[in-house]
């Protein structure tokens, strides 16, 4: 134990003296720069969509609403998040494990190449008007085969990035026998593991779609494709959430001057997320025909089980806040609330992200119910929901991370002015999303459909009654776009212009009297096997049914 403590302080000192290894920093800086460039592109497309839905902007024929919608979805939900996750996790792995191995760096660069090739192929087909299939690319809508091949490269990139982290963690374990993997790296391993498990489904789907898109096979099994898509789609969203959660557990306590609430609890949250997540995809199909009622019923439980780790996190976060506040002299039941550093953007952004997760998570739970889902399923309500989860909880946490991660990587410091700018950005984002997501939720309940360009449906009275809300959607979208521009400015300022200096990578310490973390938390073999078991429990019965009792299958349609 003595040597372990000595080693850590030694590592701390070297980290402080030398800072981040320039080669590792380059990996993360390139990933993060690309992520925020894509945020700018995707955000611009989002603005165009918002203005179109508000009825203020007529889009040209050569770049119509559905092309923009597809690009916006893929760029922000898949590309921005994956790039950010990789940049962030590699930086943290490098920091907590004393540098990346050269093998891991090679994996990171090849992953980047693959991700870029994939994104370029996808975007080219979308811009050419060959793939207006939304980011869910449900068959029987048929995109150009190169769109699907681009998706294969995206999946490959994810696997390569994940393998790099696994290889690095394994070599660290070998060199540090008997020590537990630092919590940050534990999150990274769990996050990539979950993403890889989820991407197996989409890979299978895309391998079915490619021959169909080339015309080598005539028909495709629509139900099966949708099921395989959501095995990924749902998991991916939860992976982004897990990335955000990692910062809540690891960085936030340090930023607010507190300590980790419980190392074990955080690890259990990661393990549960890995084991339980993939079958949750079914609740996205809860009103699909062709899935029996009993299977849907079972999946309500499978979906709700994912709420458990989220509730554990909520508990831990409040405990961290309260303890940190009381240490600063807070009294009374809620006195700690005032002691939180509200003027520090590194805290404010993720805090608003967390608060947003309360209505966002509740909305998610509502959607796992068959009847409630029927009310909202194809309406803008759903769009409002995932703009809260991914658009605020995840994105705003990512922004909050950027305020310390980027100066740490570029060996610069955040100035008071940038902090102020960050506060403005955060409030812009929060208010913009309040308008946009709020009006989407409301107008969705009134029946306004999602995935459709603006239309008054021949001046139908009901459709006209949506207009005031859609106007708010446009206003919110505009505020959000201003937020995107400001954020991208802040990011690149922190990367290239901010004053030189030392920024710490905030890693929370455990409480002095914390109980030691049991070693079973690192039985990854067991967690993988349990995850496979849960996935088979969820999928074997319905998928065999979908294949064996399949209808004739569908030829491709080009609806645009």
């Amino acid at each position: 134990m003595e040597t372990a403590v000595l080693k850590e302080t030694f590592m701390d000192k070297t980290n402080k003296k030398l800072g981040v290894n320039p080669e590792d920093a380059l990996v993360s800086k390139v990933y993060l720069s690309l992520a925020f460039i894509l945020l700018l592109v995707g955000g611009t497309l989002g603005l165009l969509q918002g203005l179109n839905r508000a009825g203020l902007l007529q889009l040209p024929v050569w770049l119509n609403y559905y092309q923009i919608l597809t690009a916006h979805g893929i760029l922000l939900v898949v590309a921005f998040t994956t790039l950010f996750m990789t940049g962030y996790f590699y930086a943290g792995v490098s920091h907590t494990l004393g540098g990346l191995t050269s093998k891991a760096r090679k994996f990171a660069w090849s992953a980047l190449a693959s991700l870029l090739v994939g994104t370029v192929m996808i975007m080219t087909t979308v811009v050419m008007g060959e793939a207006s299939v939304m980011y869910t690319f449900y068959p029987p809508m048929q995109a150009s085969p190169w769109f699907y091949i681009g998706l294969v490269f995206l999946a490959l990139g994810i696997w390569l990035a994940g393998t790099g982290v696994f290889v690095n963690a394994a070599s660290w374990k070998k060199a540090n026998r008997g020590q537990k993997l630092p919590l940050f790296s534990f999150f990274a391993v769990g996050g990539y593991l979950l993403l890889i498990l989820g991407s197996l489904g989409i890979t299978a789907e895309v391998l079915m779609l490619i021959p169909w898109a080339f015309g080598w096979t005539e028909t495709v099994n629509v139900m099966l494709s949708r099921t395989l898509f959501w095995a990924f789609g749902h998991t991916a969203v939860n992976v982004w959430y897990l990335v955000a959660v990692s910062a809540w557990y690891v960085a936030i306590p340090k930023i607010i001057g507190g300590k980790t609430f419980s190392d074990v609890l955080a690890r259990v949250v990661v393990i549960l997320s890995v084991i339980l997540n993939v079958p949750g995809g079914f609740h996205h199909q809860i009103i699909d025909p062709g899935i029996t009622q009993s299977v849907k019923f079972m999946h309500v439980f499978m979906s709700l089980s994912i709420a458990l780790p989220s509730l554990l996190t909520a508990f831990a976060m409040f405990a961290i806040f309260e303890r940190a506040g009381r240490k600063k002299g807070a009294t009374g039941l809620l006195g700690w609330f005032k002691k939180l550093p509200w003027k520090d953007v590194r805290f404010l952004a993720p805090m608003i992200a967390m608060i947003t997760f309360i209505p966002a998570g509740a909305g998610g739970i509502a959607q796992t119910n068959n009847q409630l889902n029927q009310t909202v399923h194809n309406s803008l309500w759903v769009v409002g929901h995932f703009h809260l989860t991914v658009g605020v909880t995840v994105a705003l946490t990512f922004f909050g991370i950027a305020y310390w991660l980027i100066p740490y990587l570029s060996k610069r410091v955040m100035t008071a002015r940038l902090n102020k700018l960050g506060l403005i950005q955060t409030w812009l984002w929060a208010i913009g999303m309040l308008f946009m997501s709020g009006s989407m939720h409301w107008v969705g309940l009134l029946g306004s459909p999602r995935r459709t360009s603006f239309s008054t449906y021949g001046d139908n009275a009901t459709a006209l009654s949506w207009d005031p809300y859609l106007m708010f959607l446009g206003i919110g979208g505009t505020l959000l776009f201003a937020g995107v521009v400001l954020m991208v400015y802040i990011v690149f300022h922190l990367m290239f212009r901010a004053p030189k200096g030392h920024t710490e990578f905030p890693i929370a310490e455990e409480e002095e009297n914390a109980s030691p973390t049991p070693k079973w938390t690192e039985r990854w073999g067991l967690w993988i096997v349990l995850a496979i078991a849960v996935i088979s429990m969820g999928y074997v019965i319905p998928i065999v049914d979908m294949i064996v009792n399949a209808p004739p299958g569908s030829p491709g349609f080009k609806t645009w």
Partner: protein, 185 residues
């Protein structure tokens, strides 16, 4: 003691007629959910039983081999398609299922697992995954309906479930060679 209580509650819950009916209505759930849960219920009750009858376990299962053989016999017995049919149609066989899986499979498994040597455990892992693989082949490719009570499509589903089970056991078995067990236990 608490564990034994949980085991007992699970045991009684699984035997409640509506629960048992629901679990037995789908072939895969019958074999891969209800039956393993009975085994788990038995495993949870094992420490209590060992505490009550220490001499019995010491005498009959001193090195773990008799227990593990009993476990394998019972488990293989319940993998035979006909036994599932009989459990559904003959009340006595259903009762035998309720008794045999927890007490003749779950209890001896937990008692023996600590006692048998590593090579014994490896043999069990390999045997079980091979058997599951064989059952997968049988249930997926059999052109005949193997159980009177279940349709062919359910049979195929069960086959795939067996394949995943075989795969899971195999992955678990293989990963232990790469992971230093003293590190994580």
């Amino acid at each position: 003691m608490r564990q034994a209580m949980y085991g007992l509650v699970l045991y009684v819950f699984l035997m409640l007629p509506p629960v048992a009916n629901l679990a037995e209505s789908v072939m895969t759930i019958h074999m891969h959910m209800q039956m393993p849960l009975f085994v788990i219920a038995g495993m949870l009750m094992t420490p209590f039983l060992k505490q009550q009858f220490p001499r019995f376990f010491a005498k009959w299962n001193s090195n773990g081999v008799p227990g593990i053989i009993l476990f394998m016999i019972v488990v293989i017995y319940w993998m035979i398609p006909r036994t599932m049919d009989e459990a559904l149609t003959i009340q006595a066989i259903e009762i035998f299922k309720f008794i045999s899986l927890p007490f003749l499979a779950g209890v001896p498994l937990r008692d023996s697992w600590k006692k048998i040597r590593l090579v014994g455990k490896n043999i069990i892992f390999v045997t079980l995954s091979v058997i599951c693989g064989f059952m997968a082949w049988l249930y997926i490719f059999s052109p005949e309906q193997l159980c009177n009570n279940y349709l062919i499509v359910e049979q195929i589903t069960l086959g795939w479930a067996f394949l995943f089970l075989a795969l899971s056991i195999m992955i678990y078995f293989v990963q232990q060679f790469f992971v230093d067990r003293s590190e994580c236990e």
